[in-house]
Amino acid sequence: MVLAITIGALLAIMLLALARALAGPKVYDRILAMNMFGTKTVLLIAVYGIFTDSPSLVDLSIFYALINFIGVIAVLKFIERVEEYDEVVER
């Protein structure tokens, strides 16, 4: 029961974040949404792993947290690099 509610809530959050990621409108909004999506995925996997008694999934969620962070940093860095050349800020 608790599991169902928790996972349902997390999925709902992910859906909302996905909506923001799809809607944009700026690149930064998408990154923000991606970040939130990522952290919630981490939590989801941790919750799922503990409740289904497969604690090895927790390793996975540690890893996801790392990847998520690096992904966000990479996006930022590259956007910055691009903007040095042209002013693609809008959109």
Partner: protein, 105 residues
Amino acid sequence: MIVDIISTALFMIGCLLGLTGAWGLLSFPDFYTRVHAASITDTLCAACFVSGLMLQTGWSLVTVKLLMVLLLLWLTSPASSHALVRAAHHAGLRAMTWSFLGDRS
């Protein structure tokens, strides 16, 4: 028993916080307000979930790993929010001002 209740409560708080944040992310008017909504709730939400889980597992290696998840989220999530806002600010993305809000209403 009590542990169960506490962890359930923590989960519920976590869900609530997470949903609030996501709702804010979706419905706030501009980027900076969205960051505000998302990043602040994110930290506590993660804390609630992970501590709830730690109560469930009891004391073992998994608890340590969960603690690592929590630390990692606590470190990375604000850092990336910070970098994000900074980048947006440098790129010249302007915050929505009150006067502008007033204009719209």
